[in-house]
Amino acid sequence: MFRYASDQSLFLDVPPSNTDLEALARIPGVVNLHPAYQSVLIVFNPFTTTHEAIEQAASLTASAPSHQPRRHEVPIHYNGPDLDSVAALHNLTRERVIELHASAQYTVAFLGFVPGFAYLAGLPATLHTPRLPSPRKIVPAGSLGIAGDQTGIYPLSTPGGWQLIGHTSVELFNPANTPMSLFQPGDHVRFIPQ
């Protein structure tokens, strides 16, 4: 259940949906959590606690999130630079790609990579798509991408290798907001074609 990561961190190998991140964050000495699909990296202050103490406390935390999931409807202009090549790859029309993508309900698995980037699970199998062979140097903020069985929106202009199928003007990350990100783990997301 636990794996060593560094002299100030360890993995709790359970999906974030099966743990209470807020309770983990309250364990004395815990300074940060980096959740992902199947694990939560727990970063602690090595001056005040140890791997063993964190393991003991973390194994006693609840196995369900305390966060109440929210529902988001995000308007999307399905006009991304890779929409045609994604359609061609799957032998679908543009319209069918849009219809499939917008018909699914997605769940925020976790936020990671860069600030506010939500990894959304629930992409229909027909749309599973490899990453670009070589990542773009700049992906504009608000770009909607797909990669493998995931979909997500780039909250900030960053490099990125996901295939871009659309764009939104919804603000996903703002340091002045609490929390800073619109999407939180466990939230449900639907895309509304514009």
Partner: protein, 292 residues
Amino acid sequence: MTIVVQSPGMFTTVQDLGRSRHGVQGVSRAGAADPLALRIGNRLLGNPDNTPALEMTLLGGSFEFPDGAQIVLTGARPAAHPVYQLIEINPGGTLRIGPLETGARCYLCIQGGIAVPLTAGSASAHILSGLGPPPLKKGDALAINAPQGKPIAKPVPAALTAYQKTLRVTRGPQAAQFDETAFYSAEFTVSTDSNRMGIRLEGPAVPTSQQGQMATEGVPLGAIQVPANGQPIILFVDQQTTGGYPKIANVITADIPSTAQLRPRDKIRFQLVTNLEAQTALRLQEELLNQL
């Protein structure tokens, strides 16, 4: 009191000890790349450890102090100034730092500290997210807080200011995917394409001993990722919070200061230690720091 930026140098930001608790939002720690140098500078000035200072990279800037100030430079030594010594700047005086000689990052610590509004609990600039103050530019005027303590005149233990080119590491979560013997016998060159997000290394490609697929997972500070091209990347203070590349090793916390001081084209090696050795090294470092 203020400090006026006449020239920012190559890349200068305000940094304290960073921002915790926002990893769930995808926001990494940021903070001083060399937290030890920042803490020493602050202690010499009678400031709390977390007091914000300027972190200068490779080429320091020029700063005017209309009201004067007591300052200490720490970390990499500039050509024209001593480090770890109190410097008194007269009112109207200008400090020209220039190129750094012994490492990559020098801290300009000021008695009282730089006064900037905290974002998410920290004054640190995190460039990717836009959290904290943007990098300094010519003409910026930053406020300086009133002194909270008195400077101390104590020699800094040499072990705290001696930066190493052999970084101690513990085994990474996917170490078994690699030929570790080859990794620990290799010499790597620090790429010019390195920054606060990651330190890219060039050298003999680290051989993979087994093909491994892994799920994206959280990455800690100092994680050494090895992408398919075999060229390692040390994830640093402005790092991404998750990653999908396997990690062969992780720099120990006590050697993060040495990592911060690596300059492009430096030759480095890695030395494997146990977690107990890593913790002992950190405790020894902290005991020496507490002499100040």
